[in-house]
Symmetry: C2
Subunit: 349 residues, 2 copies
């Protein structure tokens, strides 16, 4: 039985933070003291967690004295500002943002895939982007028995991936349009109600978005394989929660859809829907609030040798964010590696 | 100047039929007499076209006496039932359904791509599926200078692709959910409001849907190239009008994104948005009611040699259906081939 920990949550009032606190009610993570932190604007909010009413305080550089683990989910800027100080004060930072994911000394972890990587942490462990997590959860059990050469993935990402403001914007725009009024666009780059756009995060000079680039780079890092080719188009759609992904894989050797289905069902945290790609398939409306990554429409891709196509849906706030972060902390405790073991350890990239 | 024609429209009160009548107001197609036909249920509806108020009549086997061209957009069953009689009575049938598309003696035509094929008709010319038309409009100008070996395409298809009932269902479900009520599902296989699903048309034994199979087979037929590999996932999304497509191409030779952009912009009926894939891109909300196929996010696909990725949006009721059908008729008139020229002509597949 591990000792009870002092835990801080930065971004406690955000879309991911709220789900994180819900998950704390559902999983027996050993907490002695829980400190809820957010921006100055949200400080003062009262939140009930595990039967206690807690007051959210402003996150500052002085917030981390005596803290064992800090979960940060408040954007890359906040992570960059606060994480170094938290680590200096002896805390382990589990970071949801993109700030440190590709740093060579920062493990990027999906516990079911590369849980052992947590042992190499130097004070920060990153959790991948939501769209990467559900993709890699479905690639890993296949890749380890039959190497994947190339992944083509197009996403259908929900508003909640852009935070609580985008959720409200989808709701408000929908209401405005149904009353014949004009819409207000603030949280997302364009109207999202009854619309969609291939634009998530900023554009890079090569024409890809950062979101697409994250999927490519993070997938390679988590799978410890820099040879996988990945082409992605990331699209925001008018759905509240759960990201969906259409995936087309090319393997080194033939992959029978029934074998793929078997391997995926054996993977912890993955549920296959539909025995042979027909009749049933995962959908975002049904799966919001669930923990697993759901895979359906598994079928041979006849356009290429050794091709396989499939369809993946997962709750981007749970497995895509808050749940994966808490699972990383559980992995750290089960491997008893809260403290930094080897300050000179070289990372996997 | 061609003579004025007697024209019948079957499915005049449906989603595509209504748009077809709108387009007749906008294009100078030479009509002597216009006969509007629909199911018994819709007979009696009055519609104003080109300044005349017309009464919709029930479509029967006796509807086609003296008619030169019949446009049918009322589902494959109606086409199968009515087209043979219309052809027997001397009319040219331009059919929007999937009933005859793959028949060897039926040209499958996108006028900008394979307009010359209309000359081989045996009384029926088919217009491809909406999702095929916008894809092939963007493939053709590239394929003719640098053969495409493989296409991966994932679609974001609007409710209107499933007809007027699906449009109403999206509207009604959205209203019900915003009032905290339960939704009614009738026109589509599942709730579409704030949801999406990879299920358009029926499932086939190989795990693909008929919609996906259509994209594969029709693309090869229109391009006269049976060697192109195509993998598709077709997804219904909560958008009213315009289908969007994320496309990943593999060419025989390198294809520079700037060259692709140039070639696409030179193609009649195609508009490129965004000079180099950044800043602007086509979106369904903006483009409903327009005639062109819009292409954006044109960029190199680094996951494969000679790869290119892009994003395509078009109004599925206009270029994807009604407009393409009328353009086929215009092509027939300009080539003066309303009559069957060579009853023994062999088709292209």
């Amino acid at each position: 039985m591990p000792r009870e920990l002092n835990v801080a949550v930065v971004g406690a009032t955000g879309a991911v933070g709220r789900v994180f606190l819900e998950i704390l009610e559902q999983r027996p993570f050993p907490i002695n003291h829980l400190r809820l932190l957010a921006s100055k604007r949200s400080a003062g909010t009262r939140v009930s967690v595990r039967g206690q009413e807690l007051m959210v305080k402003e996150a500052t550089l002085d917030s981390f004295d005596g803290v064992d683990i800090v979960f940060i989910s408040a954007g890359a800027g906040v992570s960059r500002q606060l994480a170094p100080t938290a680590v200096e004060k002896g805390a382990l930072v589990i970071d949801k943002s993109s700030a440190f994911r590709m740093a060579p000394t920062v493990p990027l972890v999906i516990p079911e895939v590369n849980g052992q990587d947590v042992e190499d942490h130097q004070g920060v462990i990153a959790t991948p982007n939501c769209s990467t997590i559900q993709l890699v959860m479905a690639l890993h059990p296949l890749h380890r028995v039959n190497p994947i050469k190339r992944v083509v993935v197009d996403t259908y990402q929900s508003a909640s991936g852009a935070g609580g403001g985008a959720i409200n914007e989808l709701r408000e725009q929908t209401r405005a349009l149904s009353q014949g009024k004009s819409v207000t666009v603030e949280a997302l780059p364009h109207q999202i109600a009854f619309n969609l756009f291939p634009h998530i995060d900023d554009f890079l000079p090569d024409g890809y978005t950062k979101e697409e680039e994250k999927m490519m780079a993070e997938t390679r890092k988590v799978l410890h394989d820099q040879t996988i080719g990945i082409s992605a188009t990331c699209v925001r759609v008018p759905v509240y929660t759960c990201h969906s992904e259409a995936v087309h894989l090319e393997f080194e050797n033939p992959m029978d859809p029934r074998q793929a289905s078997y391997l995926l069902n054996e993977m912890p945290g993955v549920t296959v829907m539909g025995d042979s790609a027909v009749d049933s398939y995962p959908m975002p409306w049904d799966l919001a609030g669930t923990d697993d990554v759901y895979v359906g429409r598994i079928r041979k891709d006849p356009s290429i040798s050794n091709g396989l196509a499939m369809w993946i849906v997962a709750d981007n706030l749970r497995k895509g964010a808050a749940l994966n972060a808490l699972q990383i902390a559980e992995e750290v405790l089960s491997r008893d590696c809260l403290e930094i073991r080897s300050p000179s350890a070289s990372a996997d990239v």
